[in-house]
Structure formats: C-alpha cells, structure tokens
C-alpha cells in the first residue's frame, strides 16, 4: 500500500507505516546533510590548497635545462616563499612576467669573479660547486670581478654552458624584490622525490 493510496483512502496509517515514513524522512535529511557537508569539506580543502600553493609553497614546473643536472626539464618542485636566501640556495624569481630558477652565488656586497675555465670565486675564494657537471664561462658579457650591488643577488644556472643568468647584462644581478622563494622539494618525477640541494 502506498502513501498516496493511504491519503486518498483517508485511512489512518498504521504505526508501521508511520515508522517507515519517519525512517525515510530521516534518511533524506541525513543524506542532504552529508552531501552538504561533503561539498563544504571539498571546498575548504580546495581553498586551503589554493592558499598554501600560492602563499606558502608555490609549486613549479621546470622548463629548460639550464639548471641541469640539479633540475631537469619537466621536474615539478615545491618552493618556499621567502627572500631570506643564502649562497648556494636555488631560488625562483620574477623576470619579465616569468618565473626563473637559478642558484644564488653572490649576495649583496660580494665580489664575484669567474675565470676563463668557469671557476667561480666569491670574495676571492674558489666556490666548491659539486652540483656542476662541467664548468664554463658561458654566456658572459659583464666585467669581472663583479661587485654585487646593494639589494641584489648574483645568480647562476647549474648548466653553466647554456644558462643565461647574472653573467649576462641582459639579466644582471637580481633585485631582492624580484625573488619569489627558495626551491626545496621535488615532487615529480617520483624517482627523484625528495629534497633538493
């Protein structure tokens, strides 16, 4: 017997019928509530992920090979938003509406020098650069020794032969204002999952 039949027949429903109806209504309420909560939860999760990804840990996909072998084309990395960088950190920075990835070599006031063989000297001391496969003077049109101006950092790519970086006057030293953050973690490919140095 259906409810409609009950209504049309105007008979008093039995207690079982009422119980069934109560269960149905409660289920409907629970279902709506759960659905609503689920949507809310998903929205909150999405919002949190957006905030983290944009404000704290920008996720970057590497294009190009000038940071090779440290970072290869297609790598996806996490960075931490900060402008407190030290020598050797891999940084990302704004340049002409793009984000560049380079390694910090000289901080403001440092005297950076490079010889013909690509050896890098900072304040007169040869820089130990285990992350480099082949040293090269590369694309260089600035005069060495180069004193890093105030409020700037001197950056180089790890692939010294092909990298366009602070050695090229087109880029030059990078103003601290232009720095986005420091790259710390690789999430893709999984084979290289882990921290980046």
């Amino acid at each position: 017997m259906s409810t409609k039949e009950l209504n049309t027949s105007k008979e008093i429903p039995s207690s079982e019928q009422l119980e069934d109806e109560l269960i149905r209504v409660k289920y409907k309420q629970r279902y709506r509530k759960l659905l609503k909560n689920s949507v809310y939860a998903l929205l909150v999760v999405a919002a949190i992920s957006v905030l983290i990804a944009t404000l704290l840990l920008p996720v970057l996909e590497i294009h190009g090979n000038s940071m090779s072998p440290t970072l290869e084309n297609g790598d996806i990395v996490l960075s931490i938003k900060t402008s407190a960088l030290k020598r050797g950190d891999i940084c990302c920075l704004y340049y002409n509406n793009h984000i560049l990835v380079k390694r910090v070599i000289g901080l403001q006031g440092d005297v950076v020098n490079m010889d013909e063989n690509g050896n890098v000297y900072v304040n007169g001391e040869l820089l130990d650069e285990p992350y480099i496969v082949e040293k090269s003077i590369g694309d260089c049109d600035i005069a060495f020794p180069y004193t890093v101006p105030e409020q700037t950092v001197f950056v180089l790519g790890d692939n010294r032969d092909t990298s366009v970086d602070s050695r090229n006057s087109q880029l030059g030293a990078i103003a601290l204002d232009e720095l986005v953050g420091k790259i710390v973690f690789r999430v893709w490919p999984f084979a290289s999952f882990g921290t980046i140095r």
């Binding site: 909150v44 996720v59 509406n97």
Partner: protein, 911 residues
C-alpha cells in the same frame, strides 16, 4: 529489538565509513587537481638559440700562409633537422679548400687584382673557400664573427722577388696559386716594395681589407694581416708595388696684423694716422736704446686699429687691431716613403695638435717645380682624403694617388680656445698707509685709510713712503713709483742722465728709459743696471709697501698658436676684454687703452695701512697728497675714475720648438709702464720708464737658432708706475705652450641607452650637467651628438650653461667631446612608468637608479642606462591574489566555525 537496533547502527556506520572514504578520495582528487591547476611554469632561461655557440680558433697552414681563424657567435645547421640541441662546439671542424682558377669566385678576385693593379705589376693570388661542419653536417656561420689572422711565409715574398721579368703574361701553378708576371717597368729596385693583402667580397664589392708593405729584396718578413671574413671565401695576394717618396709641406692659414712701415705711415691721411699704434721693431735683435731709438728712426712699424663694432661699459666704441689671413709654412718640408707613411696620420705633424685643424690637402701637379708653382698648379682635396700608391685605386676627390716625387701641401687653420696662465700680481703703496684730515702729517690728524670718503678732503703722505721707502746706494738713481705728480722725492732721479721715474725728456723714444734691466738673477728676478737701486719688486718676499696676490691668473684667447691676453681672472670687469682698445673718454680721442686696472679688484686699496684710491675728476680736489716737495691733488685718471694705481705683475711660460719648426715665434706688447721680457735669461723686450703707452714687436727667432730643438721660457715683468692711465696689450705666438689645451687634454662622455624586453621605440628623457672639480658649472660650450645603434647620427646640438636635455631610445648613445679632464658630470633619467633603471659606468657593476654622478678621467667615460620592464605577477597568477584570497579565507573561516555554530544551535534547541 536490541539486535535490530544494533544491525541498524552497524548499517549506518558502514554507510558513514563509505561516505568518509569517498569524501577522502574526493578531497585528495580535489587537492591534486587544485594544486596541479596552480602549478606555475618556471623557466631556467638558457640560451634558446638553435645551432652551436662557437668561440673557437681554427688553424690552417700551407706552404705559403698560416691562418688563425677566430670564430665567435652561433653557427646554425644548414639542415635544421640535424640540430639536436646538444651539439658541442668541440666537434666543429673548419675545412679550407684552395679554389682552382676555374672557380667563379677565384675569377672574381682575379678580375679585381687585374683591374686594381698596373699592367706591369707582379702579383700572386690565392683564394680559399671555408666551410664549417659538425660531424659532417654543414654549418651556416653568417651570424658568426670570423676573424682571420694571416701570417705569410717567406715563400710568398720570394715568389714576387724572384719571378723573372718577362714581357708577356704567363701562368704557372703552385699548389693552387696562380702566379702572373709581366714586365716590371720599375727599374729602380729600391723603390719596389712587396705588398701583402687580404681580399674580401664578391663581384664589384671586393676590396682590400688589410695591406702591409715591406721593402723588396730585404730579409724582413711580411707582417701579419687581419681581416674579418664576411662570406665563405677569402683571398690573399702579394704583389710588387711602388714605394714612392713624397714631400709634405705644412702650411697654416694664420691671422696676422696689418703692419705698415714708417714710409707707408707717412703716406697715410691724418685720420688714418690717428688710428695707428706705433711699435718699436726689434727685428734683428736690436733692442731700443736711449740714444738710437727716436721717432725719426726706421725702427718703428705701425699697426692699425679698426672698429670692432662693439662698445665698452662707458658706451665708447671698441677697436681691435686690423689683421689679415696669411698662408705661412709651419715646419720645414719633409720627405716620406709611402710604405712608412701611407696615411695622413703618419705625416701630418699637426694631426694631433688641437690648436690647428687640417682643412684641405693640395697636391702639386706632376712635373711642376714647387718653388715656382702657381695656385693653379695645385689640385685640392678635402681633409679626409686618403692616399694610394696604386694609380688604379685613385678616386677623384677622395683617394689621392701618390707618385714618386709628389709634393703634398697640408693646409691647416687655427682653432680657437682659451689658455690660462698663472701670474703673480703686486699692489704697491706710495703713502705711509694713513690719511690725514688737514694738510699736515701730524699724528693728531692721522686717520686710518678706511675712513676716506668722497665728500671730505683727505691728504696722503707720499714723502719717502710705502714702496718708495728705501735708500738708494750712494750715487745710484732710486727706482720709485708715483711719476712726477704725486710728490715722490725720487721723481727727478736720473740714471746716466735719463729720468727713470717720470717721462724721460732726454730725447728718447716716447719718454722711455731703455736699458734699466740687464738680465735675470739666479732666482729669476730682473737685475737692474749699474747706477739704479730698486726695491724687491717681483718676489713674493715681504717688502714695505708691497702686497702680493697669487690668486689671479691671466686668460688668453688662443687662436692656433697665438695667444692674446683677454682677462685677468679674479679681477672681473677691472681687467676684461683686454684684446680691445677704446678711448678713456671721448675727449681723449688720441689715447687708446684697454683699461688694465686689475688691482682695482684687490682688497688693499682703501684698507687700513694702504693707499687710498684716486683719479676721480669729480672728487679730484678731495684726494690730495702731502710731501716734502709739494702739496697738491692726486692726478685725475684719463677716464676720470678712481683707480688703485701702482701695481706690478710677473708670469712665465714654457714653450718647446722642434728642430723643423719654422712658423712664427713672436711677442707684441703695447702699454705702460715698464715691460721687460726675458727669453730664458736674455732680455728681448725692453720698455722701461714711466710713459704713455708704447709698443714693441719682438721676433724671437732673433734669439733662437732655427733647426735647434729645445725648451724655452719666457718671463714677463710689468709695472704700472705712473697712474692716470694703464694699458697692457700683449700677444705671443709660440708653438707648444705648456698647459696648452689640445685634443689629448680633453675627454669625452658617452651615454648609452639599452631597453630590455620591451618595445624599442620608447624614448627616454635625460638631462646632463657638468661642473668643474669644485662643483662650479662649466662655462664653455660643448657639442653633443646623438648616434643610432648603427652609428648614424640621430641628432646633435650644443650644451650651453653646463646642462642640456636630450632623449635616447634603445641602442642610441650620445657623445659629448672635448670636456675637461677632471670635470664632474651628473646624468639623470626621468622615471618612465613600467620601467626600472639600472646603470653601469665603464662596464662595471650595475646599480639600480635613475641618476649617476662621476668624474671624467683621461679616457672616454661610458655610462650605460638599462631600462627593464618592471616585474609583475606571472601570467598564471591572473589579476592578483585578492580576488582569490578574500572569498577563500571566508570559506575556510566558515568551514571551521560551522561545527561550533551547529553545536551551539543544537544545545540551544535541546534547551
């Protein structure tokens, strides 16, 4: 029922668990998708150009040449599909192939050589074809710079030297090199040279890029030549060439005074005579004497005054000495060999002399005797013409063919500038340093000189006072200041019967007393003749009545090597425009003066312990002197104005002449009173005594041997001893005056604009300001030129009042020349929205900022302003974080607070 309820709850729990799992998976997917959507592209920025970046040196060697090819730039693969992006420059190879004579390119080089050399010229020609490959793949190097350093071997020289002279053209082949030879008409082997050339180009564009010469039949090796290889072929040629000797004459078009002899003067009208100034002509080393030089002698020449078209501060016309232009030889003619002096810079002695500019080149027509040449015998060429020893290479009006025995006359014109020489001035007092209220020297009526006023009558004590306060040696004439009209005791002093302190009336020339000084002492001061005792006039030692001023200098107008005194720096209007004459007042039309009153600017006159000023006609009766001889008014000035009379000046300058200099070497003075000039230690100009203006012309060649190089010093001593009027006109013509301004003592500023990553049409506004080392704005006018990136001129103009504004676009640069070394500059770039600016000086470190200040050194200062578009959020960031941030934050807050709110509501409902 309990079991039933338990089953119900178990079902509900399962459903809940499933929902939680689904929700977790959905959350993970959401996080992943959201994060993935937010991944930002980060570029590592590498040189994106295709091909291979080269910075290599390739060596080619055969039996004739050794060539180092320096290749830099990016070589592209002709077949771009062979470019895998990882090609190494180390795998690039250069293939050099000698072209056979049948090759078309070889034929073009051959045709060029045939057309450019004489028919009787021997030459060898070798052409190469270059190709660069990478693992067999051909590379296109048109974007590379290929510089070839070509070192010829002696075999090339021997081929030219040893080739038999025959009368028909023949061919032989030696490793791809064709040797053409024919009859050499030059029988004089000494005149023959071997030329070694690098050729480049195609068709009619073939040209000799670099050529060196050596004497034929010598053991000397041909030097290396260099050339840029533009295409894929390169040719080298060696040939016998003429080595003509030619003679160079150095002439300058000088502005010299119109001078007239006594006879010419006598034929003038009285009006013309009135505008003439007489000069004692000491030519021949004849200094004037008290017995021989009179107005009747022929030792007088005249110069003529002409209206300058200007008026002085009193509104009276100013006059200048009439001049005319005269072509004069500056150096003895010199003979050069073409191979040692192939261009103007090698044989123009005045090439680097900033005082002259080469304006034209005259070449004497062949066969004409230079000593008899008429104007029409010379062919005129512009100053930028070049020279060749090859008649076929001559270009009418541009490239001059030099044949053996050619005579070239270089015509220069003087450039104008200024020259400053330090000088020491002396203010002499003739009073006791006080003024008196009545005609008495009693201490009761003594007052400090600073109390002098125009309205009251004051008296000064001139009896044996000030500089005149000393005792002459027994029997000697006492040298004193004050003329005959200030009550000075020694005014009547005579030496050998000649008045030395007032107009010498003993029938000498214009009242002068000649011969009062005889030479220079060991400390560089004039030595007075026996019979004269003078105070220490010109040293910086402290002497009664003398105040030394070292803060003045003399500024001369420099025109070529001629310097005319124009200003006393530090004296302002009291000694300016000294190159011009005027009448002191219209009523004195017979007097010409340049109003030389430098000590009017001194702080001594009218000061306590010093003289008062006098000369004013208006207050003549209020300025009086008291002496033991007489009491009277001080004499009025010719111009009717007060002046600080009685002063002296000394300065010296060095000049150097070369053994071949034969240009003018002279000095002219016109003025009063004493003027003694010494060349080294020899007196060359002597105008002693107190007198009206007297002129003297000195030809310094009378005292210097032509053909003898050396440094010389001219030392000048001048006094103004007579009041009333003061004139000091002087001009000297000397080569290589020390501290002379020339091109090499100036420097340039180069300001360049570079715009990165933006449109290249934006013009950026700049202003530049120049000051001297002390921050005083530069007063001279400077020329600037704005160049485009391709070195074509975009704009030019002048910088007046030390500053100017200009615009620069990407690649443009401005050059300001002839700036003084040590000057400071400040360049400001106006802020352009959307750009930030960094600057760098001389390629040094970059500094962010729109302004830069620096000091000019002795080399060109290069300032580069780089504009870079201001960084913005990456494109993936959209319009900014605010749009995302606020609603997301609200959502998060709501999400976290929702359970709490619901719990509270539930509690409330239960209540």
């Amino acid at each position: 029922v309990i079991i039933k309820d338990a089953e119900k709850y178990q079902k509900a729990h399962k459903r809940k668990s499933i929902w939680y799992r689904v929700l977790s998976v959905l959350s993970a997917i959401t996080v992943f998708c959201t994060t993935y959507a937010l991944i930002l592209p980060a570029i590592t920025m590498e040189d994106p150009s295709p091909g291979i970046k080269l910075d290599n040196v390739f060596v080619y060697e055969d039996e004739e040449v050794l060539i180092n090819f320096h290749v830099s730039g990016r070589a592209l693969f002709v077949n771009e599909y062979l470019d895998d992006g990882n090609s190494s420059a180390n795998d690039v190879e250069l293939s050099v192939k000698k072209l056979p004579e049948s090759d078309y390119a070889y034929g073009e080089y051959l045709e060029y050589m045939d057309s450019s050399l004489d028919d009787d010229c021997l030459y060898t020609l070798t052409a190469f074809q270059l190709s660069f490959t990478h693992n067999g793949a051909v590379l296109d190097t048109k974007n590379c710079t290929v510089k070839a350093e070509i070192s010829p071997k002696d075999s090339i020289k021997e081929v030219v030297n040893e080739t038999p002279l025959i009368d028909t053209k023949q061919e032989s082949e030696a490793g791809g090199t064709l040797i053409f030879s024919s009859l050499d008409s030059s029988s004089d082997e000494d005149d023959k040279v071997i030329a070694f050339s690098a050729l480049q180009g195609t068709g009619s564009d073939i040209s000799e890029q670099d050529t060196v010469f050596i004497q034929a039949n010598t053991s000397e090796s041909l030097p290396m030549i260099t050339t840029l290889v533009e295409g894929d072929t390169l040719a080298v040629a060696s040939y016998s060439a003429a080595n003509p000797s030619f003679t160079v004459q150095y002439y300058t078009s000088l502005s010299v005074f119109d001078t007239y002899t006594k006879a010419e003067y006598n034929n003038m009208t009285s009006a013309q005579k009135a505008m003439c100034l007489p000069l004692i002509d000491t030519s021949g080393g004849k200094l004037p004497t008290n017995t021989t030089t009179t107005t009747s002698t022929n030792d007088i020449i005249y110069v003529r005054l002409v209206d300058n078209g200007t008026k002085n501060a009193n509104g009276l016309p100013e006059y200048t000495l009439a001049k005319h232009t005269q072509l004069m030889p500056m150096y003895t003619d010199k003979t050069f060999e073409y191979i040692k002096a192939p261009d103007i810079m090698y044989f123009d002695k005045l090439y680097s002399n900033g005082n002259f500019a080469l304006t034209k080149i005259l070449v004497l027509k062949s066969g004409v005797d230079p000593s008899k040449a008429k104007d029409s015998d010379w062919t005129e060429y512009p100053a930028d013409a070049t020279f060749t020893n090859n008649p076929s290479s001559a270009i009418a009006g541009k490239r001059i063919y030099i044949e053996d025995g050619a005579v070239i006359r270089l015509i220069h014109t003087p450039t104008t500038g200024s020259y400053t020489n330090s000088a020491t001035f002396f203010d002499y007092d003739i009073t006791d340093g006080y003024i008196y209220t009545i005609e008495s020297t009693s201490a009761t009526y003594r007052r400090n000189t600073s109390k002098q006023t125009n309205s009251a009558t004051w008296f000064a004590n001139t009896a044996e006072s000030g500089i005149n306060k000393f005792s002459a040696e027994s029997g000697n004439a006492k040298f004193s200041f004050g003329n005959s009209n200030t009550g000075v005791t020694a005014r009547t002093a005579t030496w050998n019967g000649y008045y030395i302190n007032q107009y010498n009336r003993s029938s000498t020339y214009s009242g002068c007393a000649f011969g009062m000084v005889t030479g220079l002492s060991s400390n560089g001061l004039p030595v007075f003749a026996n019979g004269i005792t003078a105070p220490d006039l010109f040293s910086t030692k402290s002497v009664n009545g003398k105040t030394v001023f070292n803060n003045y200098s003399l500024q001369f107008i420099q025109q070529g090597d001629t310097y005319t005194l124009a200003y006393v720096n530090g004296a302002g209007s009291y000694a300016d425009n000294l190159q011009l004459f005027s009448n002191p007042q219209s009523k004195y039309s017979h007097i010409f003066t340049n109003n030389f009153w430098p000590m009017d600017a001194a702080n001594t006159w009218g000061a306590d312990g010093h003289d008062l000023v006098f000369g004013s006609e208006q207050y003549e009766n209020n300025r009086r002197f008291i002496s033991t001889l007489e009491d009277d008014t001080f004499p009025p000035g010719d111009d009717g104005l007060d002046h600080n009379s009685y002063f002296g000046m000394t300065y010296s300058l060095e000049f150097e002449i070369s053994d071949d200099y034969e240009g003018p070497l002279e000095y002219i003075f016109y003025g009063d009173d004493d003027m003694w000039v010494f060349l080294d230690e020899q007196l060359v100009c002597d105008i002693g005594g107190v007198h009206s203006s007297v002129g003297e012309y000195v030809n310094l060649w009378d005292y210097i041997d032509k053909g003898t190089a050396g440094k010389h010093t001219l030392t000048f001593f001048y006094t103004e001893r007579g009041a009333s009027g003061s004139t000091c006109y002087m001009q000297f013509t000397l080569p290589s005056v020390s501290i002379q301004s020339s091109q090499y003592e100036t420097t340039s500023l180069n300001i360049e604009k570079e715009v990165q990553n933006s449109d290249t049409n934006t013009a950026f506004d700049f202003d530049v300001t120049f000051t001297d080392k002390d921050g005083v704005p530069l007063i001279n006018t400077y020329v600037y030129t704005v160049y485009n990136a391709d070195a074509s001129i975009a704009d030019n103009g002048i910088i007046e009042n030390s500053t100017t504004r200009f615009k620069l676009s990407h690649g443009q640069y401005i050059v300001v020349d002839y700036l003084p070394i040590g000057a400071k500059y400040t360049v400001n770039e106006a802020v352009t929205p959307g750009f930030f600016t960094v600057n760098t000086v001389n390629g040094g470190s970059k500094t962010e900022g729109n302004s830069i200040t620096g000091t000019l050194g002795d080399t060109t200062e290069k300032v580069l302003f780089i504009n870079i578009t201001s960084a913005q959020l990456p494109s993936t960031g959209g319009r900014g974080m605010a749009l995302f941030f606020i609603p997301l934050l609200v959502a998060v807050i709501y999400a976290f607070s929702l359970p709490i709110i619901r719990k509270k509501l539930s509690v409330r409902r239960q209540e």
